[in-house]
Amino acid sequence: MYKIMMFTGGVYKFNELKELVEDIGGFILQEMVMQVETMLHLAFPVEEERVIRDKVKEVGGKIKELPLAGAEIMIVVPSLGKHHAVDPMCDIAEFLRRNGAITNMMGLARGVGKRIAQMTAHEKAIIEECDAAVFVFGNFEECIEEKAKLCETLEVPYIIVGGPPELNIEHYVGNIGRRTERMRRKNEIEQLEAVAEAVRVAIDEKKREIDEDPLATSPLFIKELLDLVLPPKAGEEFSTIVQLDGLRVKVEEGDEENLKNIEIGKRKLSDICNITKSEYDGYLVKILPEAVTGSVY
């Protein structure tokens, strides 16, 4: 099992840290060097945390836990109109990103109102491609209760964000209603922390399920191989997005066969994963459990 953390610091002995991560069987998920400042997203075996922390102390950097790292989360609002975007939608997304998640944002085609609110099958399919969803439903108790029924059939963990502090709805986080300005005050940051915490709880549950029935291989390992076989183009970011039980891979037309034929141990990628075209972007690679595929190595 891998732990994902973020390192920030200077360039002093920076390469030594990278080498150490690779030596202990970890991965560099993201790397950003800004003049003399560096930022790394590191994934390493959980039992090696002490070694990494010691090295970070030696190079004089900081290391922070990313509880939502390795998860792709969809933020859903009733519409993309000025009533719901950009605040609080982008505030929530930004805060989840700070906690390591990759976020997508989505406005429903007919999600506004109370009686008339709908979620189409296509929208539901797109939301279910992600690891979790956050619905932002506004100020009114009655409307939130009605719209919460739309989410009940979802097969991914979700939380509902709304205005009233407390509601008798499952996975509900209150105190974030409609907003016309950015959430930047202390109490507002605390509310965003509550949302991130609720998402973490929902995702941890899914992680536990995966631990009970482990995957054939780690999505992080497949990402590492993918980046070697189908390297991202210059300037392209997030060509491969890691999910809890797979990946979203953005490959060009004609590269699908290469994707399917990537060798993982003794097997091909298509043998140990379900590869489907995403309804939203790229291809979805869902890794099958080891119990189904047998040993890969």
Binding site: G81, V112, E141
Partner: protein, 186 residues
Amino acid sequence: MEVKVEGGGEFGDANYEKICQNIYRDIGLQSNIDSVYLYCNAAEHVFIISIKIGRVSNPVTVGDMTIIAGEDMFKVTKELYAPRLLALLWNRYGEKVKQLGRLEISIKLEEKEMQELRSQVVYDPRGDLTTRILDGIDRILPEGARVRYSIPATGRITIIASENPIEEDWKKKATDILRKISKGEA
């Protein structure tokens, strides 16, 4: 600008008060509106908003927003109205008008013509006041409440909004509310 919100619950009322303030501040009408009253009934999905129009500032003339800065040249002192001024000048004098810098405009005119130009209205806030107030209302009311019914009254804009057809009961209730708040103001 006074804002009063009722019927949305403790959180909803406080939140909508803030939304009204912020939206009219963004549109730039806070000083032109005396009061905003919003009644929310989310259970039946009916919203009533009533806005009392206050004092509106005088029309802005070319003389108000520019100073003469040399022969055949003037300088814009209120940049906010510069695009409207240029549109007015180009429309009237065509290629005679030259924009020398961000705020400098040159135009060759007779003394009499120049005097006449300086009294020309560049922007009349009364002209688009209703449109801007309605834009604000559109931003305040929940997006799903697309069925609208307006109640005419002097110096006031009142709108009932819902996602359902608006029934006579609500029209009557809105008229009663309107009467009550008008009486309170008197």
